[in-house]
Assembly symmetry: D2
Homo-oligomer: 93 residues x 4
């Protein structure tokens, strides 16, 4: 069981759409579409992935991190550091 | 012919890798992988798409926009506005 | 008492530096510096603010959110939703 | 003369506001404001700087880069590479 278990179907549906968008970008490049139109499609795929990441992170905080915080101690500390590092990677990417 | 024509093979290769990464994220969700590990993979896919976008933009500036600028006039102005809007979308996404 | 209390001096020092960087950008614009050099300075200021935001968020999770999670109930839920919304704003800005 | 000369007053006004926002963040930290409220203010300052950067870049493309493109040759090539590198820094920051 993970934080995202309840959202699994929605996440998978969103990821399949993102995968289709990336494939769409490749097709546009292959068929010599106009650069700016390709960039618009790249932005759509990037935003879809960002939404997936934020959902995963929210679920992770609300379950794994919250449960570790309830128990306290070094495990809680480690979970919080790990989550903060993941947030930093996300903000900087 | 587009700005990215000379980089087409490299772009398509990179996009196929990004598509594989997104599919990898879906597989990890499906197989109940640990949230933080999934997030790391999402970041990798996002970065790959970002690199594609920056390459497309660089090629677009160096060809379409540069050629329009050489000719000057309202077409040059329109191409520059369009490129700036695409850059803003990219920075804000 | 807030999550960031222990980091207050470091945060204030960093914010004073960021303020100086923004003032530096204004001075460069005022003195007609080269656009690209100004952009480099804007990026430095933006990165400094990002570091402040990530520190505040890490402290917030490790204290306010962790304490709320220990107590559990609707307050914990509200704190987690609030933190997730702040993370989303940060990732999208 | 630079690309941003015509926008200088608007840029300086926006930068003074951003500087005030950063100072506001420092005051909030100093007065122990609630973390999430500080983060909202940090986001506002970051967005203001982003808008400045996009304006500078648009002006730079429409003037310095467009003029270099009209003349062509290695100088045009260098200006385009420099602009692309600045865009990449902005997108990744």
């Amino acid at each position: 069981m993970h934080g995202y278990t309840a959202d699994k179907d929605a996440l998978l549906k969103r990821l399949r759409r993102a995968e289709g968008q990336v494939r769409g970008v490749a097709r546009m490049v292959d068929e010599d579409a106009y650069c700016i139109d390709i960039l618009t499609q790249v932005s759509a795929a990037t935003k879809a992935l960002e939404t997936v990441a934020l959902q995963l992170l929210e679920d992770h905080l609300a379950h794994c991190v919250a449960e570790a915080a309830e128990r306290g101690g070094p495990v809680a500390q480690a979970k919080l550091s790990e989550a903060s590092a993941a947030i930093a990677r996300l903000v900087r990417s």
